[in-house]
Symmetry: C2
Subunit: 241 residues, 2 copies
């Protein structure tokens, strides 16, 4: 079966790519430029799809919709706010929201599926992101219905197979599937190397530790530092809600 | 109240603009370039908003998302098919569908509403377009729920106040509200002047006739020809489903 996948170049969507390829699917992957502060993830999405092509068929398109940046720029990811440090809390996650981003990307992906005559669109929403409204099951159910009804002549379904999995479980699956995490990127800060302090860096570090593994993206020194930072946040009781 | 409106520059959305202004709303209007075969409607949207500014506050933005054209181009509006002539039938409407267009535009409009801190997005879906799946009430209800849930921290609602009105009723309302229909554009064909034969031209002509009026966009000769063409289609029994 051929399906459409939204691929950011991060841990979750890269794991979903490998999961679907291992199921024998052919993938039409879309990576969007929507006004992020850096292009690291996009370069990573390219490398991950090149690597994944060894396992199965992947067609990768990079779609530049940065013309909508002015309309929706807000918060820390696309706007002027600072990227928050430490474990995610609801307040911090609110700062990293991009207004209606997932719905916009999923809508375009669904249109692409209709154009190609495909029936399913995948994205890697998961339980650890459930503070983001557009990663919650109730949104996915409503969006699935809306996409189906909007294209009832050639109906498309929305699939989020990781929705009941936590980040640690996704990384566990990815390690079994041989996902090249050294090619993925998570840090929000846009530096040359991961900052190790932002919510997504801290979450990534924790997921590897809980899998008795280490993040292959990081040098030994960086990994040591990442573990120290995580301990420090834990000791300061900056815990997940 | 400030609201977001999707404005194509055609009859329906221009009437909705005037309807909302007459209710005392301030309008943030969005017109999208998504790979249409001509820019007539976009020029018209500009002129209509300039005219409408006499009645109330209108901020108009033209958003170029033609980068998604390659992904979703299909059918007669954005693809290679010929524009069909005569009254709409389901087969003909299928040819004029742009995959998932309304969902894509509404998703961006909802993101824009969140960015501006606004609570309502309007579009001019109506009963005469109910053959298009993304103009039907069931889609609107699902999309309203999806938009609400995706942005639950700053919820946005989708409004389609014309959904129970036919084209003839919209034109009737617009004539009462003084909508400058001479500035609007409906024809799909992209010629210098309306073709008078495509589904949207025929529908427009009929709506003015049923209002005992004439289309102010057309010269007297064009109007006479439009009425003749409509009669001809009726005689050939090419009727609406």
């Amino acid at each position: 079966m051929k399906v459409v996948l939204i691929l950011s170049g991060g841990v979750d969507s890269s794991t979903l790519l490998y999961y679907l390829l291992h199921k024998g699917y052919s993938i039409h992957a879309l990576t969007f430029i929507y006004g992020q502060k850096h292009s690291k993830e996009i370069d990573c999405a390219k490398k991950v799809t090149e690597h994944a092509s060894r396992i199965g068929p992947v067609i990768h398109k990079i779609v530049d919709i940065s013309s909508i940046h002015e309309l929706i720029s807000k918060g820390a990811i696309t706007g002027d706010d600072e990227i928050p440090e430490g474990y995610y809390t609801e307040d911090k996650q609110r700062l990293t929201i991009v207004p209606n981003r997932n719905m916009i990307l999923l809508s375009i992906a669904a249109g692409y599926a209709v154009k190609l005559g495909l029936r399913e669109v995948y994205y890697a929403a998961h339980k650890s992101d459930c503070m983001y409204p557009d990663c919650r099951k109730e949104f996915i159910k409503a969006m699935d219905t809306a996409i189906y009804l909007a294209n009832i002549w050639e109906p498309v379904e929305l699939k989020a197979p990781f929705i009941d999995m936590k980040k640690v479980e996704i990384v566990s699956l990815g390690l079994q599937l041989g996902v090249p995490y050294e090619l993925t990127w998570s840090c929000y800060s846009g530096g040359e190397r991961p900052c190790l302090k932002c919510g997504t860096c801290v979450e990534r570090t924790e997921a590897f530790i809980l899998n008795n593994s280490r993040d292959p993206l990081l040098s030994e020194i960086e990994w040591k530092r990442a573990v120290e930072i995580l301990e420090e946040f834990k000791n300061r009781n900056i815990t997940r809600i």
